[in-house]
Symmetry: D2
Subunit: 475 residues, 4 copies
């Protein structure tokens, strides 16, 4: 569905949205009260039913620009049947309206928010010649046990005859002969006696499905933390077109830790499992290994080489890289396809400006190493801030300082020709190992531009403004 | 799965959980580092595969108390095949361990949290005689367009013969004759040439499913705000055994608002739609109408009577009620099956203690009205607090004062014989209509015992302690 | 002392300060590390001593541009004697330096802040021919009670003779003949036996002064809340040149409240006491009465008239006014010397823009009332916000919304010709009567542009920017 | 003044207070509305005037238990003359009342708080035979420059005669012959013409004092951070009976830092200056040196020895010590008079419980060192928390965890026989050097039990409860 809003500063603009969608979830409309139109194309042929679980608070429905009908009240479902559609593409428009006026007796200014838009799901049903529109099953306890009093509405061609088969789980079933009435519908009523069922109760919420036969039927790049991702995440990235840097499991291991006899076998297994299970995800753009490990030592280099070899053997289709923090001492830059650096100028390193750090690091790679000429990525930049801690001191951990540092860092990267891309570390604040509390306020990594509750820090708008200036920004 | 944890204060206690589940999501284990066992029964027969998408960070698997195998690393999947199970119930135990030690070279104290437990999904596959264990499809751009290099592993009885049918969407397909090798498996390799496919890109994340043929599963009451619920919510309550008070759409309408000519037809339609769509949900215990409307006027009473009649006509199986705030002036108490009051002593009314208010109100109903002898519910109690605002003044809106008021209110209700139940208003802070900002800090209703981010206010533990003292408490 | 800072963006700028003063208390220098010079003129003649209780962390002292000496360490006092100054004006410069380097062994980056500047008091002593520079009194418990071992250093002309009289309270005293030594000083040692003294202890911290004879020695307007001010506050405004609107005690009294038989006598007494005690404070620019009371009723008007008469009788030198919230219904505008309105457009009144409200109100006064042509003040504008509550909704009570409203309101006032001035309501959040909690989040009035802890809300910088654009802004 | 409050839970309890004092500043009365009596003795003889700058909102005055009079309104001053007091001790009682009722027409529930008590200063004036009660000076601009119209009320014995000398700075003066009237008072009116005065204005707030001749006239221990204190702080401790550990300037210097050639001379000078300037403050109980420096090295030991020698030479009356963090490796424990350790079990050291750490450390000193048998102090314990950061994880930096750790630490200390005392580190959060940001959230030391705004963390009440259980607690 595309979302088109009628009035205000954003009049005439259209935003891509996923339904359900309230106006207020779009940043530019967080307090909007007015009309908005949701539009999309769909493929259909013949008879369909459009079921709206909730449109707030008045919805007017159009198909192929023809008015179908309307409904008042956000919190009850409604549906329309549209007959005889030609095969092919059709157009649905839902105009939602959340304004208060005399016309609305129930939705009035209130102690809960009346959001606008399509606030619950929408279902498109392809209708056969005859179909069920309602099934009510009311239980009554009788001497013979529980009895279900069942009402079923069937719609179809007048005088046509069907067999209606109804099952309560695999316990009881009923077969009814149905003749459609002159008005195109029939109410079928009958009872099902279910002696051996258990009662639903809070302690034992036993549910019995009832089945009565008839049926039917919606980017950019991200770097994740230092281990293989959940396949659910990768599935979403596949669908949404988000590029992913995926890497094996390691962060900041020293040479000593890499010499742990378990290190090499454990890491190789993880690497193999990662590629084995995730190779089919198109969203994965690179394979990464050994984030910020000992790439400044000969022993370390042997590990990097061994793991790159595994990746290249298992998947010839993707480039490989590794995020380094060994600034001017990295000896592994001949190995990867892409040179990647994690830089935190003006945060961890304060002796130079962000611009100076980025340029010196880039130039050193080009002039002194075998990484020269390879694609060059900044795989981490950022700074910490505690949400809500603001101070005119602009000290470290204030929201003000984080915003300043990100401004300097991003402008440094974008003004250095030769750098192919940058990842901000990180989207949101995350919990960390307790052993690290000493250097991590709140036992959290606070480098998020939003906090763990997705509240926006001051840096959020700085990042947004810079990205927008480079086009293609999408919130 | 049941969750059993090994050490610490909670040793020997077992908690019901839903997988995926990390130890840390259980309040008593929010910082636990150790072992924990997840256990459940499952029904199966013959050959199965248990696929674990992630166990953190070491998992040991037992079926029917027999050790099956183990896996290290939280972030990669693994699976075990178990053959020849007898038909019937079996027992799965997963012992997860998130401790750091020399044995763990990758999971070390780190700048992200190593949660313990089953951190991603678990799948039980029923295996036929032969089945596919792996499908890798690597795209390569050739002169003839895109080519898919496909590897498929097939497992089965040595020397048996199968037909393997592989489709890329409805574009191309391949049929391969497969003979299982002596070791019980075979690698099938072939190419699929797909000329007319579109490339996946962030701008156009086109996905093509590949199919290669082979396939396979908590209690108390809640009162919601003043309109019919989303069916997804009701489905969850059905499954979890949570009782629901559902009501039509109205809150605090004055007699003047009820005389709006749209009121009666709009309200009747909502009521009919609500019952029509939701009658089959066993979790709905009562139908409610007209929260805090003009039940102290004759005109109001005629509306109450008309709407109760609709409910009783459409559903004879459920009691009906209405939450009143007309304290000693309500004239409608002869109409409902249950008497329901919303009371905020020590918050909106400060002239009496909570105990005095609750008793006077209850006694007045028994002595002066036709509501005497009917079940009596407190359908709202509570007080407001702004998360994080603490002060030794114990002024209104401090967390301290909310905690005190809820303590007084709950104890007043529980010590008044004759009251059948109570609903706290409310679980979490929610956004409200801007027109109400003047009496609602933050343009929110702040009566939640947790805020909009689910952060617990001081009142949370007070409520927990009181409910626990009455048994059956479950977090 | 004037404060001149050497480096950075503010190089060359000078700021008026009050000593003690650390660099970091100036907004532009909140994290400054470097040198800064404090300068002022002083009147003196002859010999003086300049005593510095603390300069952080290195101080270089200059008198009349001549280098006098320097001292390292922020936390100990030091002094210099300067002899033979000509009568008249002299110039003192203190260059403070808080930089870390090898030269500083004690002040190093640390777990407490090394602030820069004059961090404790400065004393100018006028020296007579001879004077005491040190007095140490060490108590010892002897058999005869407490004995004080006293050391006194006396400085003077070699060979001159003095009598030194030392008293411990009025208990004991000593007289010593003192001859100044060849080097210009003498150490006098003696004992004082004090039998009947009480020991200092935490429970009874009894102190005995010792006396040894020898000696010496920041504008615009503010409107306060609705009652007479503390004289300490008025004294400060006298000294700093801040204009004050002072008013009698009343806020928002209805006609009914004004008919309380105690009202008129109590209010008259307050008015008389206010003028009687405060008439001599030059900072008071206007007398005000009856903020937001019933100036739209005939009874109310009679009270306004009576109270204006008292003011005019007691003080003929100052204009009188009253802040009204009776927009288009005020009938008292013929009475005051100045027309004053409290306006909250876009906060309490949301049907018009701030610009529309201000203009309509101003025009109505000119066209329809006897207030036409009188000076016209906006005596309150503003909006509420809860510090730390930020949200992209820009709902009421967010810091964002307050900032927007103040921007609109101030620009509306400043762009309306004919309005003589405006007071923002209010500087900081303040506690309110509990009875008002229902419309006051946190039982506070939250309209401050800083909160009760002086933390700046987003509106602070908006106000600052607008005021600066009109010149004369001073932080 | 002693403060006695009449009603509620604290009825009958008396609290020592310093005037001005509102009820609400006492923790137990932070929302009190009622009466309260302030009482104290004073010395006087003859005629006196008691001037109250503000009592809120009704004050009744008693001297020697005799009712003197009363006054309504918090914000205006009033006074009473009492004649013929016998020489010696007298008793003053002020009953303040901040209740709302019909009697109070001005003080009503309001948008600012009506605090109760003595809200502004109180003055006791000793009256001579005749005295001035009022001086009003109203400036008028005349053709001859500024003219002051002066009214002075003089009170005295009927018919007695005085000379009244009035000076405006040293510019003009007037002498008036005054004859006291029959009613015991006279109004003297005259003009002072001051041609050459400058006008008061915000830019030039020039003030001219007017003088008309006539006159008169109201525990425990703390360890401060690592440098000599401001004498103002020491003065207050002298007066309030608070014991102080004062030390020279050093914190955590390594052996390398101690070898800086500037170290020894700079430190010696600081030590000498500290003792020289502060020796007379009785509140100083110990002298301390070199907090947490290299007391585990021979070079370090030589520095400790040298500095102890300076202290002992300059002041023989006080014991010396040094706070060590060198746990089981300190080699300097033979040097001080008192053994002092800074311990942070369960915070910086997590391998043992607080109880175990405290006991092991104490026992090691007794068994293995020459510190055996010396008084033993814990000079720092504590843990960090960020105000407002609460989480059921009880992770480090949560308020919950800090409260738990302090509970364990304090109980460990108090249950270890042989430990003479303990200092909690620290009272409030403080700003730190930016270079330390990496291990200090917010660039602050967050170990305060209140934050920088004095908001109480959860630990506050834990500490209070434990200290109260040991008696002598005073808030």
């Amino acid at each position: 569905l595309n979302h088109f809003l009628r009035s205000g500063e954003e009049a005439g603009n259209s935003f891509p949205v996923v339904v359900p969608c309230c106006f207020e979830t779009l940043p530019a409309f967080s307090s909007y009260r007015g009309e908005g139109a949701f539009e999309r194309d769909f493929e259909a042929e013949g008879d369909i039913s459009l079921v709206f679980k909730g449109v707030s608070h008045t919805g007017r429905i159009y198909v192929d620009d023809k008015y179908i009908g309307e409904h008042y009240n956000a919190y009850t479902p409604f549906s329309f049947v549209i007959n005889n559609l030609d095969a092919g593409k059709h157009h649905l428009k839902v105009v939602a309206d959340n304004r208060f006026s005399e016309k609305s007796a129930l939705h009035v200014p209130n102690d809960y928010m009346t959001y606008g838009g399509i606030n619950r799901g929408v279902v498109l049903e392809f209708l056969p010649e005859a179909y069920i529109t309602r099934l009510h099953a009311v239980p009554e306890l009788t001497e013979k046990g529980w009895n279900l009093s069942i009402d079923i509405d069937v719609v179809g061609k007048p005088s046509s005859v069907y067999n209606l088969s109804t099952e309560l789980c695999d316990i009881v079933n009923a077969n009814e002969r149905v003749i459609i009435g002159e008005n195109g519908s029939t109410l079928v009523h009958f009872n099902l006696n279910a002696e051996n069922v258990e009662e639903w109760s809070p302690e034992n919420p036993k549910l019995y499905p009832i089945k009565a036969v008839l049926k039917d039927d919606m980017g950019n790049a991200v770097r994740m933390t230092h281990y293989p991702n959940d396949e659910l995440f990768l599935d979403l990235c596949d669908e949404e077109g988000v590029l992913v840097w995926e890497e094996n499991h390691a962060r900041g291991l020293s040479e000593e830790q890499m010499r742990n006899p378990n290190f090499e076998p454990q890491e190789e297994k993880v690497t193999e499992e990662m590629v084995d299970y995730h190779i089919n995800h198109p969203c994965i753009l690179f394979w990464g290994i050994l984030n910020e490990c000992a790439s400044d030592s000969e022993y370390g280099k042997s590990c990097y080489a061994a793991q790159y070899a595994i990746l290249r053997k298992m998947d010839k289709s993707r480039p490989v890289s590794s995020a380094s923090c060994k600034f001017f001492t990295d000896i592994c830059l001949d190995l990867p396809d892409i040179v990647s650096y994690n830089l935190y100028p003006e945060w961890y390193v304060q002796d130079k400006t962000a611009k100076e750090w980025v340029e010196e690091n880039y130039n050193w790679v080009q002039e002194k190493t075998k990484g020269a000429g390879k694609p060059f990525l900044i795989t981490e930049i950022g700074a910490g801030a505690i949400y809500g801690y603001r101070s005119q001191t602009h000290d470290n951990w204030t929201e003000e300082y984080q915003a300043e540092v990100l401004d300097h860092q991003l402008n440094a990267v974008f003004s250095t020709e030769g750098i192919s891309g940058v990842f901000i570390w990180q989207y949101c604040d995350v919990r960390i190992s307790r052993e690290w509390f000493n250097i991590r306020p709140r036992t959290m990594n606070n480098k998020g531009i939003v906090d763990e509750y997705r509240r926006r820090k001051l840096a959020y708008d700085v990042v947004k403004k810079i990205y927008r200036s480079y086009g293609n920004y999408f919130e």
